[in-house]
Every structure is written in structure tokens, then in C-alpha cells.
Point group: C3
Chain length 276, copies 3
């Protein structure tokens, strides 16, 4: 029988003052000392406003394991993929800017989202970013970058990146498509890896953090979630970061999504332990 006492927390935060701690975290994200974003909610459900601060920011966001920039990239990736939370997406794009993400990192995250959630979801996220950027004028912001990879070597570059990110499993996926859907396999190499992953402006670990966040939030991409959990570890991510990200997603995509993500992570960690 489970004893009615909480297990030792891996979190550095104390259980007291969840509200004060949450408000401090929320202030970092909003860039204001007295965030008013929850006032309309508090009008008809004051406890939901309080839970958002205490649980969303005091419990989850304040945990160690991820930097504020990683948290915001993971959040905007997940919300872009879900595609049904426009107000929160705009809020967290502004939050990403407030914790130090660049405009480039934000737009690259949404270009990356085309791969996992499709172009419509990505284009709508980009439109949200455009609104937020317009509302937060920044004379120091770099002009939008363009980066064109030469057509001729897209396939070779794509295969090389696919192997760097996914290991031998990457080219294996492409091979397995060769008989049935060769163009889909070719697009995966030429476009996804040869053009999207090849872009600078978002380093590979952050790219894979976004991939894991999107596959977890969608909940419909089980095989791909497993591929990208492995890939995130391949390019330098840690198990601690994965667990912190999945825990955060309980707040943004619900506990079922987070729990199913942890079950996938458990499989991948065991597989890697077995390899030694």
C-alpha cells in the first residue's frame, strides 16, 4: 500500500508559497510585475486562475530540469501542434521573447512545426508570431533571415543529417518507404532533413526538444515520438530534460499526453540501458 506521504521531491522548490513562487515565474513570462492575464478567468472561476499560478507556474514552470528558454520553446511548439489554443500561443510567443528567445528561434520553431503538425498549423502559428512581434516592436531585432540550400545536394545533405540525428534508424525509415511510397521517403530526406533540419537558427538539441514536445502534444505520433526521444538523446539532450519537458506538457496538453509520453520514454531509456 502506498503510504499517504509524498515521495521525496526531485524539485528544489519547497511546497510552501506555491502562489508566490508561481507569480514570480509568471512575471518572468509576462515581463510585468503584476500579470493581469488571469483576471477575466478569476471573474467566474477564481480557483482556476489560482491553479494556473500555483500549479502551472509554481509547481511545473519553477521546477529545475529545463531553462526558461527551453520551456517556452517546448510550449510554443506544443501549442502550435495542437492548433486550438490561439490566445495561449500568442501569450507564450510573447513569453518566449520575454525570457530571451530570439525572433529567429521562434520563427524557426514554427518552420520546424511544418514537419510534425503540417503546414496549416505552422502557418497559423507564424501568423500568431507576426501579431506578437508587431505588438512588441524591437529596433534591435535582426531582419528575417533567408537561407537557401542548393538544390543539387539536398538529398546528400539530408541523408547525412538524418544519420546524425536519428542514427542508422533514420535511413532505415527511408529504405522501408522505397517500395511503397518512394516520393514520401524522398521528401523526408530532401525537404525535411535537407532543407528544414539543415537550417541554422535553431540548434539540433532545441529542434529535437520541439519535435518531442509536438509528438507528445499531438498524441497521435507514437512511433515518431519514440524516434525523436532517441534523437534528442543522440544530439546531446538528457533524460532529465525529457522528463521535465513531459511533466511540463501535463499542463499544456493534459495528463494523458504526459503519461503516455513517460511510457514512451521508459521504453527508450530501457532500450538504451540494454545496449549498455
Amino acid at each position: 500500500m502506498t503510504p499517504p506521504t509524498a515521495p521525496a521531491s526531485t524539485s528544489a522548490t519547497a511546497p510552501e508559497d506555491r502562489y508566490a513562487r508561481g507569480l514570480a515565474a509568471l512575471s518572468l513570462v509576462t515581463g510585468t510585475e503584476h500579470p493581469a492575464v488571469l483576471d477575466p478567468i478569476a471573474e467566474i472561476a477564481p480557483d482556476l486562475a489560482r491553479f494556473t499560478v500555483e500549479f502551472g507556474y509554481g509547481d511545473i514552470w519553477s521546477q529545475p530540469g529545463l531553462t526558461p528558454r527551453q520551456r517556452q520553446i517546448g510550449t510554443i511548439a506544443a501549442l502550435a501542434a495542437l492548433g486550438n489554443a490561439a490566445p495561449q500561443l500568442r501569450f507564450h510567443i510573447a513569453g518566449a521573447l520575454n525570457v530571451g528567445c530570439t525572433r529567429r528561434e521562434i520563427t524557426e520553431t514554427f518552420i520546424h512545426a511544418t514537419v510534425y503538425a503540417g503546414y496549416p498549423a505552422a502557418l497559423n502559428a507564424l501568423a500568431a508570431a507576426r501579431e506578437v512581434f508587431a505588438a512588441h516592436p524591437d529596433p534591435d531585432a535582426a531582419a528575417p533571415a533567408t537561407e537557401k540550400t542548393p538544390e543539387a545536394d539536398r538529398y546528400a545533405r539530408g541523408i547525412a543529417l538524418l544519420q546524425e540525428v536519428d542514427g542508422p534508424a533514420g535511413p532505415h525509415v527511408v529504405d522501408s518507404l522505397a517500395d511503397l511510397a518512394p516520393d514520401l521517403g524522398r521528401f523526408l530526406v530532401e525537404h525535411v532533413f535537407g532543407e528544414v533540419y539543415a537550417r541554422t537558427g535553431l540548434d539540433l538539441p532545441t529542434r529535437e526538444l520541439a519535435s518531442v514536445a509536438m509528438c507528445t502534444a499531438l498524441g497521435t505520433a507514437g512511433p515518431q515520438l519514440r524516434v525523436h526521444l532517441r534523437a534528442f538523446l543522440n544530439v546531446g539532450g538528457t533524460r532529465e530534460e525529457i522528463i521535465a519537458l513531459l511533466t511540463q506538457l501535463a499542463g499544456y496538453a493534459g495528463f494523458p499526453a504526459a503519461l503516455n509520453g513517460v511510457a514512451a520514454a521508459r521504453e527508450i531509456f530501457a532500450e538504451q540501458d540494454a545496449k549498455g
Copy 2:
């Protein structure tokens, strides 16, 4: 070979007059004798407007098995979780008020939705409720309730509720997270059960009806759907209510979601029959 005759219906309603029966049900939901909500649809697709009345209200909504209040709570829970049907969510929040649900039950359903669909989906549903409440002034409505559970015993209270709702399987889920994602397990106990499930304002069977509706509509929460089918039965729900709810969700989330829900229910019922 299946003979081309309909099986004996479990429904008390006759096959004739589906339109008249549907219109009567729709009138209960809209609170008006001549609902005009489908007029814009009828302009370009008159048969879709007719199907909505005949199938949505004449076939599904008029079935026995659930009370009108249960139907509306299940519907707003499912639409909140889907997060992509704002006009219908507002319509059915008003419908919930019209069939006798209280504002408190509606806001509690959406606080409960944070657990299954995440905070963004729940906050957007709450914002929809705020609009509907403002458009339906009610001088007798109770002021928004606040309910703060003491910090100190959240874990103990959560474990007790987890056992009441899920039986021994509940604490087992938490134990299984202890090695890999202990904070996620702790949040599940302290926040989900110790704070959300502990709230009054929505009784446990209605809470679990909403959980089943959300997991079914999402379609990405298979293991959790099974947990909450068991939980709904544990806290006093019936198999008949489950089947009526899943059948209703064919209209709101599509037949695949409903059929996959019935497949899960079949497993759980068989498992319980085997236990005797």
C-alpha cells in the same frame, strides 16, 4: 449474413417522426420553441440541417440512458477537450443552463478539463462560459465559489481520493512513476486528486462521466479511457450510462471515436465480468 431488418431497438422512441422528436429535444436545449440556430446551415446544405435535428436530437439526444443534464455535461466536456468547436461549445454551455445545470457545475467541468485536455483548452472553455453567462444574466446565480484545500494534507487527501476513484490501480500508477518521473506522480496526487477531484460542486459520478467523455473525444488517451471507464463504474455509474454516452459522442466527435470507445468499454466490462 445480416438480415436487412433493424435489430430490436433498446430505445423507447419510435422510428417515425424523428424530425418532430428532434425538434422537441432541440427546443429543450435552446430554451426556445422555434430554434433558429440551423438556419444559416440550411441555406447551403438543407439536408445537413435536417440531419442535425433528426439524427443529432431525434435519434441520439432522445434516447434513454442519460438525463439531459448528463448529456450536456458530457457534451461540453467533449467539446472543451476537442478545443476546435467554439460556436458549438457556447451553444451547449447555454444548453446546459437551459436543462438545469448550474453555473458552478459548468465551471467545475472546465476546471476538471485541465487534467485531461490541458490548461489552454480549459481556459478557452472557461472564456466561452464567461461569454455565455454574460449573455444569460441570472440574478439568482450563486457568486463564483472558491474552495482552497489546505496545502499540508494535499498528498494524503489525494491518495485517499485516488483510491476511492480508481481502486488499487490509482496508487499503482503513482508508484510506477516513482523511478522515472516522480514529480509528475506527485502532481497527479497533490494537484489532480488533492485539489481538483477534492472540489465539491461536481459529484464524482459526473466528474467521471466528464473524464470518459474527454478521453473518448480526444482519442489519444486509450490507457486513461480504460482507467476512467473503471472509475466511472467504481463511483456508481452504470454500463448503460457509458454506452449511452459513447453513442452520443458519435454525434460530437465522430463514429470512429465512439466505436473505439465501445471497444474499450467491451474490454473493461469483460474484465469486470471475469472478476465476478
Copy 3:
């Protein structure tokens, strides 16, 4: 080891001039020589605007395997089911008109969508169609059709159509519901097949193309995707059309949805090969 050269393409299009080819395809969809739809995107992410043209239209849309009308019906079906991409849904409804789909085919696709994605998603898609039709006045457009199947023989007609579309597996699904959810089975026969599939205005292969597109895009309807892959082949669709459709959905619903669709198609093709 996979050599770093692209496999022979099944596509008739050359790798050069993806942008020019994409722009030509996009012009067919928009009905204008110089489409401006991507200008706002180009302001903050010029490469995403370019990818949309090069990859979305130059690579995917320009492939052989589907007619423009099939591509647009598949796209609006998928976007209706996803329910979170209203601007793109409106754009592609207009695109469907521009490549020669009739208003009737578009509204029938959304009536068909009630079955797979539920009434709210379908009603919202219909509302989008209403806006687009109003913005594209067409004095030659037929008045909205109505078609009422007699109540009395809905069950017999439904069973006959279910067998035509799904083969013996169709009635088997209904039989398997008889013990647990007989009304859901009856609604599937009487309403889905006896009323929706029985409608003229969308031929059966196009109906099943839309079913496959929706189940793939949703990503939560694995068993139903398999049923409808078989059904599409039963009513005259080809494997080549299936692969072209799934490849197209990589652009609209993301690569995970497309890859999981190809895995399902592989199973169904193998099953049919084994039958000889």
C-alpha cells in the same frame, strides 16, 4: 548503408524549378496569376513562404497520382476533420471551386465529414463554405440540393450499401455491436449508410477518398482507417491514389500522420496480396 543519392522518382516532375512549378500549381488553386496569399508570411519568415510554394505545390501538389479535384476534396476533408485551420480551409474550399469541384461536391464532403469528425467539425466546415460561396458569387451554381431517403427502408438500404462499400466486414462490425451498443450499430446502418452514404452528389470513390483523408488526418482512427483503405479499393480506388493522397497529407497534417497512414496501407495491401 543508404547511398547519398536520391532514389529514382516516380514523379514526372524534374527536380529543377520547384519554385516555378509550385507557383504554377498555386495559381491553379487560387485562380490568380500572382497569388499574394503568402505575402504576410514572407514578412517574418520568407523561407516558410518559399517552402510552401516549393514543397507544398512544387513537390507534392504537382505529383501525378491524383487529379486536382481529388487533391482539393482530400484537402478540405482533412482540414475539416482537423478543425483547427479555418483560414486554410476557406482557402482550399475556394481552391476546390477553382479547379472545378461543384458547390454540391463541397457541401457533400462536409455532410460526409459528420461521420468521421462529428457534427461540430462538419458544421464549422459548412459555415466556412457558406462564407466562401458568398464571396464567390456564381449565377450558374445549382440551388442547394435536398434529398430525403424514405424512413421505412433506411435499414435495408444501409445494409446493402455497407456491404457494397466494406464487403462482409461492414455487417460484421454491426453484428459485433449488437450485444453491447445496438443503437450505435443501428445508427451506423440507418443514418451513416442509409442516409449519408446513400446520397448522390459525391460518388463512392470520392466519398472513400475523403474518408481515408479524414481518418489519416485525425490520427486517432486507426481501425477505421484500415476499414476505409479497403473500402476505397473496393469501390474502384487504386493503390497509387492512396499513396499520392497520403503523401499529400504530409503537407496538411504532418509527416507522422502520413507515415502512419503508409504503415496502415502497407498492412492492407499485404492482406489483399495474400488473398490473391
